[in-house]
């Protein structure tokens, strides 16, 4: 304590740590906000410089890069790649804002990705399969909710368990049903093509995309609306920041947290279903086809400061980098793929080091019992 008297002790996610009751939560968020802005501006500045440089010297690497960035296919790929991550990130926001850190998003994506294919295969209906994936993910989220709210399990460890259970269960089921960790191929969700608009350079990609991309847009907007405009959104925020304030205001904190976690299950389920149905197959080898997207989602919403739109933009940044490197590789300009892949992770660590403590919701990670304290 003596070392950082003015530091705002936000809640950290450590197992079993108690938040400092003498905390003055004033300094942290302001500090992090300005740093975040700085980073966002730096990103925009870099992009602008790249495009200008590319326009000025079209025949250099800058020119190629600028071409790739402004290519319609790049945007299209970025949108596609960001769907599962962004859905999971939205889900993570609902859960964590309500005070429950959901590190099991990865598991929710895995279970829904598999179930969507399975149900599609059995019923033949792609959208029934999509719904099946959402249901599976929601059920797993319900398990997580019961365990953390009723049985006061440590949220981080329980989240890890959710991930590991799904990581085992999905390939297990695939093996039982299809005799292999990978499922056979079923139909895909296809894409919606808006005539004329889809012809617009670059932004045309927005009008020729998979239905899940449009669902994502709706989900981002709806999430924003819930948090900013509805009473329930306020309760979620209060439940994560100061559950006692909510409790004394006559709102049942446990119920709000249950709903928060279940919504995270629904949203992550949509992401997982969209992921597998986009390809029409679930691949369950190693880390499965989800391959860390749930963890990147956590990073995305932290980076987006728990704002649905911010989280979506952060996801687009990560997915955009990924899309650009894919395109570059196709063109034979090899920046090593493995190194580009890690850029988001490095960025997160640098951001954390600069911003210091991420401003988690004040009470995130803590069990809350009505009448306690």
């Amino acid at each position: 304590m003596s070392d950082a008297p003015a530091e705002a002790p936000g809640t950290d996610a450590e197992a079993g740590s108690d938040p400092d009751p003498d905390s003055t939560p004033n300094a942290g968020p302001l500090g992090s906000r300005s740093n975040r802005e700085l980073i966002a501006w730096a990103a925009i500045g870099t992009l602008a410089a790249l495009l200008l440089g590319g326009a000025a010297f079209p025949n250099t690497i800058l020119g190629v890069l600028a071409d790739v960035i402004t290519d319609k296919d790049t945007l299209s790929a970025a949108l596609r790649l960001s769907v599962p991550i962004a859905f999971a990130a939205l889900g993570g926001i609902f859960s964590e804002k309500s005070g429950v850190i959901n590190i099991g998003l990865e598991g929710l994506l895995i279970i829904s990705a598999f179930t969507a294919i399975y149900v599609t295969d059995v019923t033949g209906g792609i959208w029934i399969g999509f719904g099946g994936g959402v249901v599976a993910s929601t059920l797993l989220a319900l398990l997580f909710a019961v365990v953390t709210i009723e049985f006061r399990a440590d949220q981080i460890i329980a989240g890890l368990a959710v991930w590991l259970i799904a990581l085992g269960l999905a390939p297990f089921a695939s093996q039982v049903i299809y005799n292999g960790p990978n499922t056979p191929t079923v139909g895909t969700t296809g894409s919606i093509y808006v005539p004329v608009l889809a012809e617009i350079p670059f932004f045309g990609a927005l009008f020729s995309a998979s239905p899940s991309v449009y669902m994502l847009f709706v989900a981002v907007a709806a999430s924003w609306y819930v948090f900013e405009r509805t009473a329930f959104g306020r309760w979620i925020r209060a439940s994560g920041e100061n559950p006692k304030a909510l409790d004394t205001a006559g709102v049942n904190v446990s119920r709000v947290r249950y709903v928060g976690i279940l919504v995270s299950g629904v949203l992550a389920g949509m992401g997982g279903s969209a992921l597998s149905l986009d390809l029409g197959q679930f691949t369950g080898n190693g880390p499965t086809m989800v391959n860390g997207k749930g963890f990147i989602a956590i990073v995305a919403y932290l980076f987006g400061n728990y704002n649905p739109i911010g989280a979506f933009l952060a996801t687009m940044l990560f997915a955009g980098l990924d899309a650009i490197q894919t395109v570059l590789q196709l063109q034979g300009i090899g920046l090593p793929r493995q190194l580009i892949r890690i850029i988001p992770f490095v960025v997160v660590i640098v951001v954390l080091a600069l911003v210091g403590r991420t401003r988690l919701p004040e009470a995130a990670g803590d069990h809350y019992e009505s009448g306690e304290e």
């Binding site: 008297p5 004033n26 968020p29 306020r234 209060a238 006559g250």
Partner: protein, 531 residues
């Protein structure tokens, strides 16, 4: 006319503690009533009973003349009681309006949206009615603590509170904000609201309240009219007039200077100045007592001395060396023993047994941890010595600290620290929450150390303790030493005056007559006998 609130014979027992003992308490409607007492006197417990957080073991709660039973704060809120906690129940990233309306948001569109215009208008109207100057759209984290407090008050009013309980409302405020708060309280009572104001600061009780009730050790020791009482009288009521310790104390044979603090200035965790330029020297063989109401900078001063906190200015010298930048460990190794005030947080590791706890602070010493390897047999022997010599009642050295009673934990800590063979002992509230037998024991040991030439710094809010044990007695008020006096020639009422921050010159000056006059009414109306 019925009282706004009437508590009759309230007793609240916790396992092993009686927090409230047959307390009668009533509040006139439309007045400010201060509930005054030291920390731990049972003020907050009593108000939690009224607010439905605790069910009393026995006794009766009446609101507006009607007997009530509150199972939860919600029942109390429904009965028109609102409580403003010391730690605000506010959501920092949300706006003033959002906080005030939380859980009762006006809706529109069939409940699908919060009617933000209506909410804002309602809040503005409420604030205007009570003359609160507040921006309904500001975020809580961006407004001052004083404004946050007003938001809390508005939140209670928005929910229809007629009686407001404020728990230590001034603890976090600046003097200017305190004045503003008192203005707000006046406005509220003028409009018929009733205020109960929990505090341990007697000056504020006198300034803000119409009536003052004093609690001590869970019992109410008196209710006085703020108009005809004095600070000294209240101070005496608060700390009591227990019999002074009858200890045989030869005059101090002081040795060399052991510790010397100059111009120590410390800001607390909120950035508020807690210690403001304190100087003192402490010699071997003397006990320097620091008296004062809790929260006047004693804790921060002690932490700066013992190395738990870096002072913002000033130097700490120990045994002739400047140790201002030395770590806690180096200070301990140099011979500084420290009995911390929060024993279960700092003094012992609750989950360790007594052998492991005997090692705390000595794990790197040559005696118990030579070359980084712990000598457990030696440590065990040490733990057993402490247990034997300091009368720690425990089944054995392998018992976890958490299974011991508070008094025995404290005796163990005292023993461990005294057995360090220290040059200086810093004892912070060494007998708080300890049974009478252990108190005597700890006092005797402290005096033994003094005779052995050890320097002792004793911090306590118990007057009889610091008065009975100290050779010199410093009184701390708002981060400063108001005066350093000879405890044998200073009366309790003079000390009470000093603890309330009165100019010390008055008692030293030839013009003592004035202060004697002042003393006179004290003994009469405010005596402890009334309890």
């Amino acid at each position: 006319m019925s009282k706004a609130v009437r508590l009759e014979g309230i007793t609240k027992r916790f396992p092993g503690v009686v927090a409230n003992d047959d307390v009668h308490f009533e509040v006139e409607r439309g007045t400010v009533h201060a509930l005054l007492g030291e920390n731990g006197a049972g003020k907050t417990t009593l108000m939690n009973v009224l607010y439905g957080l605790y069910e009393p073991t026995s006794g009766r709660v009446e609101v507006d003349g009607e007997k009530r039973r509150f199972d939860s704060p919600r029942d109390a809120i429904d009965a028109g009681i609102g409580m403003i906690h010391q730690h605000f129940m506010l959501v920092d990233p949300m706006t003033v309006t959002e906080n005030i309306t939380l859980g009762n948001e006006p809706r529109k569109w069939g409940g699908l949206a919060v009617d933000r215009t209506a909410a804002r208008e309602e809040v503005t109207a409420l604030a205007d009615r009570y003359g609160f100057d507040i921006d309904p759209d500001a975020r809580i984290e961006d407004v001052s603590v004083g404004e946050q407090q007003r938001v809390e008050i508005l939140k209670a009013l928005y929910r229809g509170a007629d009686t407001l309980i404020l728990d230590e409302p001034t603890a976090v405020l600046t003097p200017q904000e305190i004045d503003d708060l008192f203005g707000v309280l006046g406005e509220l009572t003028a409009q018929g609201k009733t205020i109960i104001f929990i505090t341990h600061k007697l000056g504020e009780a006198m300034a803000a309240a119409d009536e003052i009730s004093v609690l001590r050790d869970g019992r109410k020791v008196g209710t006085v009219d703020a108009g005809d009482t004095t600070r000294e009288g209240l101070a005496e009521l608060m700390v009591g007039r227990e019999v002074l310790l009858d200890v045989d104390r030869p005059p101090a044979e002081t040795g060399d200077v052991v510790a010397s603090l100059s111009d120590i200035t410390v800001d607390d965790d909120r950035g508020v100045r807690a210690v403001d330029g304190v100087d003192f020297e402490l010699r071997g063989g003397e006990v320097l007592g620091i008296a004062g109401v809790d929260g006047n900078g004693q804790s921060e001063l002690v932490e700066a001395l013992t190395g738990l906190r870096t002072p913002d200015a000033g130097t700490v010298e120990f045994l002739g060396a400047d140790v201002t930048d030395d770590s806690r460990r180096r200070r301990t190794e140099a011979g500084m023993a420290y009995i911390p005030e929060d024993r279960q947080e700092r003094g012992v590791v609750m989950n360790f047994d007594l052998v492991e706890n005997a090692l705390l602070g000595s794990q790197h010493s040559t005696e118990f941890g030579p070359n980084g390897r712990i000598d457990w047999p030696e440590t065990r022997a040490h733990a057993e010595t402490v247990i034997d010599e300091y009368d720690v009642r425990t089944p054995g050295a392998d018992t976890a600290a958490k299974s011991l009673s508070g008094g025995n934990q404290q005796k163990f800590i005292v023993g461990r620290e005294f057995e360090r063979d220290p040059e200086l002992v810093v004892a912070s509230h060494p007998t708080r929450g300890v049974d009478v037998g252990s108190i005597e024991f700890i006092h005797e040991r402290l005096l033994e150390l003094r005779e052995a030439g050890v320097a002792v710094l004793l911090i306590s809010s118990k007057l009889e303790e610091v008065q009975g044990l100290s050779d010199r007695l410093a009184v701390m008020y708002e981060g400063e030493f108001v005066d350093v006096v000879d405890p044998t020639t200073t009366t309790e009422s003079e000390l009470g005056l000093l603890m309330a921050g009165q100019d010390p010159a008055e008692s030293d000056d030839p013009g003592t007559a004035e202060s004697t006059d002042r003393d006179d009414p004290v003994d009469a109306p405010a005596g402890g006998e009334r309890a």
